[in-house]
């Protein structure tokens, strides 16, 4: 398989070739690596790359791979070449349109700072969520109009609960 991998706005051409169970030949921009992988603790991988042993923590969320290694976080998108071309032809603006803001964690809604119809700017505080004795400001990820609010002050929410829609 051939992929286009993006890290910090830099693109890399990557190919994956499965050569054995859990064993891959990986090329990154024409450099080749033999990678042996094993999974432990849900999302922690042991990788042996050209004989060197690494441990990485890998999480897939909404199209982005969050890869933690040696305490450093890499946010990586992986797309196969075909899909990328299709998106580019379509003019691929993913951040446009409606965006649902979800709760990152379970907690209690302390305050809702906006109402339906409000115009908000990126970074404006939408509501305050309390968890673990800490008050956390939930901010607007982009400019837009508040279309819908799903929660009230005093309400408890689960992780991933829908909070606000901005368009």
């Amino acid at each position: 398989m051939a992929y286009v991998v993006t890290v910090d706005k830099v693109e890399y051409r990557v190919t994956i070739n499965e050569i054995d169970a859990d064993k891959y030949e990986v090329t990154i921009d024409d450099k080749s690596y033999i990678v042996d992988t094993r999974l432990s603790e849900e999302s922690v991988y042991s990788l042996i790359v050209n004989g060197k042993s690494y441990e990485v923590d890998l999480e897939y969320k909404e199209g982005v791979y969050n890869v933690l290694t040696e305490g450093d976080l890499f946010k990586i998108t992986v797309m196969d070449e075909l899909k990328k071309k299709m998106l580019e032809r379509r003019g691929g603006g993913a951040a446009e349109g409606k965006q649902v803001i979800k709760s990152e964690m379970p907690g209690a809604i302390v305050d809702v700072k906006v109402k339906v119809g409000d115009q908000v700017k990126e970074g404006d505080v939408l509501l305050i969520l309390e968890a673990m004795k800490m008050q956390n400001e939930i901010r607007a990820p982009k400019d837009g109009e508040v279309k819908e609010i799903f929660v009230k002050p005093g309400e408890n929410v689960e992780a991933d609960a829908q909070l606000v829609v901005i368009e």
Binding site: E55, A131, M132
Partner: protein, 518 residues
């Protein structure tokens, strides 16, 4: 030997790692333990480690761990002769101490009188001045006029802090470097205070530039014997919360160390204190130290002192509460090697330290020489959203600071906690920061050095890319196999509806399904 009693059974009015720490000391001493737990903590480790456990109420602390009536009732019913409060919750609550005493249960901590004196900053400051313990120079009475203010500032010496009487928590204060500047901002500062707090009274205190937070662990028994267990360096803080502690401190030399130890003993003696406790000081760049406050409880960071002195502080605290004299003399206490503690919080350092409660799906503890983990969690346990986000403390000891840092780095590398986010990666960044390694730190270190400046990466980019690409390859492969399964099993019905259901189930979009089906 003086008269004393020996506890048979102790109730621990706390949860998490500190409840476990106290249970460990009790078990070693042959004392039975009673745990209390809230609705959220039935599965917590402290319940499993104690000899007895009783439910005390709903998850919010106000309905469980802060319910003095319920906790005392459990202590009476289960036949406890003492209660250990841990830290936080009821540890510095004199009402709780009184309720215990009224029921003939010993509170493992200081007497209420000393708690009262030391619990209030203004009262404590006066007591310390009387006991010849240095306090931050200044006066708490509001200044009367510009002339008056300039006179006081001159006496104290610049730089000074001009503080609003109604302010606090870092708000309503201004650093002033010389007389000209003071003249220029005097009216302005008062005006700001008036609009911010509705009160324009201001007072003057000496400014401590690049302060370091250094504290002294002390122990004083009911017979007036007192020792200090040397200092802890706690300057690495985030939002006024300590995150890394060490002993010894690089900020002071042996002469100042000895002076601080003696000052700390005078400080607690002045309040007739009778337990283990901590005297906090600010230290400036010239090694002048100033009294901050006394923490009248066992502290989170007590393990670093245990590592360098070899003394079990919780056991000592229990023995003092039993009325036993301290079994050591000051000259018996040696500070050997270097210890570091990293507090592991359930917070996401890559998302502005957002709390991250939830289920622990995997856990692997570091081990090997010189490593200690005081943890409240285990694999498949839960970190509830109701309490403090600290889940564990990782402590290392080695012969000196460079070795201790190296050992901490390797221990952090081994430590795996999955399911929730933790501050382990953040500690890895701090531990390899050049200024941290040089010992060039202050209480502003995290905010001004680590969080603002981009930290050089150590992780290998190629490895991260390879891992993500392989995972994507596997994800697509799994999607394909599920699609084949779907085609074989779901031939009938509306294919559009089915595809929608399937897509939702596998987290795939219609596009993906379409791609693999053609």
């Amino acid at each position: 030997m003086a008269e004393y009693k020996e506890f048979k059974k102790v109730l621990i009015a706390n949860r998490g790692e500190i409840a476990i720490r106290v249970i460990r000391a009790c078990r070693k001493m042959g004392i039975e333990t009673v745990a209390v737990y809230s609705e959220a903590d039935r599965n917590s480790l402290h319940v499993r480690y104690a000899d007895e456990a009783y439910y005390i109420g709903k998850a919010p602390a106000s309905e469980s761990y802060l319910r003095i009536d319920k906790i005392v009732e459990v202590a009476i019913k289960s036949g406890c002769d003492a209660v250990h409060p841990g830290y936080g919750f009821l540890a510095e609550n004199s009402e709780f101490v009184k309720a215990c005493e009224a029921n003939n249960i010993t509170f493992i901590g200081p007497n209420t009188e000393s708690m009262y004196i030391l619990g209030d900053k203004t009262r404590a400051r006066q007591k310390m001045m009387d006991a010849d313990v240095p306090v931050v120079p200044g006066m708490r009475d509001p200044v009367e006029s510009l002339e008056h203010a300039l006179k006081i500032a001159k006496e104290i010496g610049y730089p000074i802090m001009f503080k609003a009487s109604a302010g606090g928590g870092g708000k309503g204060m201004r650093l002033i470097n010389d007389e000209e500047e003071f003249k220029a901002v005097y009216d302005l500062a008062k005006g700001e205070a008036l609009s911010a707090f509705g009160d324009d009274r201001m007072y003057i205190e000496k400014a401590i530039v690049h302060p370091r937070h250094v504290e002294v662990q002390i122990a004083r028994d009911k017979h007036g014997n007192a020792i200090h267990l040397y200092e802890r360096e706690c300057s690495i803080q985030r939002r006024h919360q300590k995150v890394i502690e060490e002993s010894p401190s690089m900020a002071i030399n042996d002469e100042v160390r000895e002076k601080m130890g003696q000052a700390a003993i005078r400080a607690v003696a002045a309040a007739n204190y009778d337990s283990v406790g901590t005297v906090e000081f600010l230290v400036d760049k010239d090694m002048n130290f100033y009294f901050l406050e006394v923490n009248t409880r066992l502290q989170v960071e007590h393990p670093v002192t245990e590592m360098v002195t070899g003394i079990d502080i919780v056991k000592l605290q229990i023995e003092i509460a039993e009325g036993k004299p301290i079994p050591y003399k000051q000259e018996d206490i040696k500070q050997v090697g270097h210890a570091i503690e990293c507090r592991i919080y359930a917070e996401d350092p890559d998302k502005n330290f957002m709390p991250s409660p939830g289920f622990i799906t995997g856990s692997r503890l570091p081990g090997g020489p010189g490593v200690r983990v005081d943890s409240g969690v285990y694999s498949s346990g839960e970190v509830p959203m109701f309490y403090d986000p600290m889940v564990a403390k990782l402590i290392v000891w080695d012969v000196d600071r460079p070795n201790a840092i190296a050992r901490m780095k390797r221990a952090l590398r081994e430590y795996v906690i999955k399911g929730i986010k933790t501050t382990i990666p953040f500690h890895q960044k701090v531990l390899r920061n050049e200024n941290f390694i040089k010992g060039n730190i202050s209480t502003e270190f995290i905010d001004k050095e680590v969080l603002v400046k981009p930290q050089p990466r150590k992780g290998c980019l190629e490895v991260a890319i390879a891992a993500a690409a392989i995972k994507e390859y596997l994800r697509e492969k799994e999607l394909r196999s599920k699609l084949v399964e779907f085609k074989e099993t779901c031939g009938a019905g509306s294919p559009w509806k089915e595809a929608g259901r399937r897509a939702a189930m596998f987290g795939a979009s219609f596009g993906d399904i379409y791609r693999y089906s053609t």
